[in-house]
Every structure is written in C-alpha cells, then in structure tokens.
Amino acid sequence: MILDLHTHSIKSDDGRAKVENYCKWIRKKEIPLDGFVLTEHRQYDSESDYRALEDEYNLLILKASEVETDYGHVLVFGVNEDLLHSFDFANIRLPIQTVLNAAKENGAFAAPCHPGRKRVGLFSHYELSGPISDVHTVEVFNGGSIPGEDELSVKQAAIHGYKGFGGSDSHVVSRIGYCATTFESDSITTVEGLVGELQSGSFGPISLRPEPKNTTTEP
C-alpha cells in the first residue's frame, strides 16, 4: 500500500489544507494513495477524529508529529501519552538524541525529514557536528524540496546506510501525494501497524509528482 507520510493541515500554523479537502482531492485526481499521515508542526493533535472521513473516502488517515531539533526536523510516528510527557513538542531546540531515545522507549518511530535541506535537514548538521548513531531511516523524497535537496538526501542516506521513505510535506491541498512511501504490507490500519512496518524496513520512497503542464500564457 502507498501512504503519504508527511502532510500538514490547518492545524499547523502554515498549513492551509482542510483534511476533508485532501480526501476529496485524492479521489477526484485518482492519486494512488491508500492514506496519509498528518504530521502537524511542533504538536500532536490529540483532539481531531478523522474516522468518519476514513469511512467516507476509504482512506487511512493517521496522526503523527513534526518536531524541531538541533539536527533539523524529525517526524515522530506512534505518538502516545507517555511520549507526549517525555519532551516539549513545541520546543524548537530539542536535542535530537532526546527525541530518538524517547521515541524508542515509548514504542514510537522517529525519522528525520528533508535531511538534505539547509539548516533544518539532518545532513547539514552532520557536516558540522558529525553523525548520530541512532538514526536509521530518513525521508529521502520530500515534496517541498528545492532542486538538489532530495538528490543530496538520497546520496547521503546511501553513504550512511539509512533506509529512505517519502512524503509530500504538503501544506496546501493540491500537493498531497507529490511524494509518498510504498509498503510491502497492504494491511496497515493503525498507527501501531505503521510503526511496525517502519521498524521492519519493508518500504521505499516513490515520487508521484504530476508532469508539468504547458498551459501558461502571458496575460
């Protein structure tokens, strides 16, 4: 199955997409996603319940977080009560080791996103501060990357032996599914199931960016 592991809704300060509109867009545009994960910035959205949308659109909708560390941004899948009390999700200067340790201890899965990005990507910090031994998986395809960033992510992930996944990092509706992750399993139905599959390593990144249209005109 194919999941977009990195999306933002209006719950994020810079997100402009309503979750239902993501669902409508996926179905209307026949994007081959089986679901997506909402990774809101610096928080975990405990309140929202998307089960009705899951049923209506036959999509898996899971919740996770994107936190900010001294080694760049990190996605945390499988957030639970214990993990929420382990560190302050709103802190923009979290030590990455704190996040990785807390995720491991609480049955979650933490993985740096857009690692090829300047300042907020893992590999830019490797140049200055050396590698982190507990990292094993990174987001190598990110739909918000500028030219060169994903290429750097892929190259550096290979050098360090990291497993790679993909996510659109969409903040507006029409960018969902630009990048995603294909899993060998077709039976992920919960965030615990997702964490298990991520831990197993049976997945890979894919790009689903639409071909550019040549319809622009000068007014």
Partner: protein, 150 residues
Amino acid sequence: MAESSGSVDIAEARAEWVGVEFDWAEFTIDKDAMIQWALACGETDERFIDPLHSDFQAHPSFTTHCMSGRLFPKNFPQIGGGFGIDGGKTVTAHLPIRAGATLSAITTIADIFDKTGRSGTMVFIVQRMEFKDETGALVSTVDWKMIKKA
C-alpha cells in the same frame, strides 16, 4: 520548557502582547493609486481599472500597503534581529473599498511564535489591521506575518 528567542521568552511575550492594540490610523483611498496598483499587477477586470465603471473599487488586497509607520507597541520587547521581512499576508475583503473613502484602521498583535526553517531560527510576529469605513463598517482585515531572525 521555556521557549526563547535570544533573551526574550516567546511564551511570555505571547501571553503579554497578543491582543494588544497599538496603532490607530486613517487612510484616504486615492483613485489614481488604485488604478496604477491594479494595472501594474496585470489586472484586466474593468471594476478595478476603469473609474467610470459602476462598481469601480480598489483591488482586494489594496489595504496591504497601508502602514502608519509604527511597527510595534510602545515598550514591545526587541524580539529577533533586523527589521524583519514579509512572511505572508492574509486579506479578508468584507466590502468593496471605493475611491475617496477614508478608512480608519486599528492594529493589534495577533500572534507571536518561533520556528526553524531553511533560513535558521525565526520569530513570527503576526499583526492584524482592521479597516473600517466612514460608517463604521468593517471593509478589510489584513493579517501580516513579519519574520525576524532569532
């Protein structure tokens, strides 16, 4: 855990300053500037470029340029460095704005938060300007995100 940006605690600044009104100003809407603005942006809709059109009005985001000169409330802490850059604008157009109208605007601090991005650690200061016409009707609301380096 305390959030901080330099010597300023962002959570404290947010608690103290969000909601504070700090500027009151008046702006007269100039017909020629309205037309020049719209034409420079490639506007072709007659409502915005033809002063003889029955529904002639300012371009929907015309109020985004209205600034009285005061950027922050008196005694506002020095958050981040430099003058700040424009991170984005949200405009709600409640009613058409007509040439010659005098709008009164009140500016409020709407939010303060920090985050990291390609440019490093940044502080966002969101200011909200509400514009009312001579009758007191709300015609435009502009939220402006000013980004400053932490």
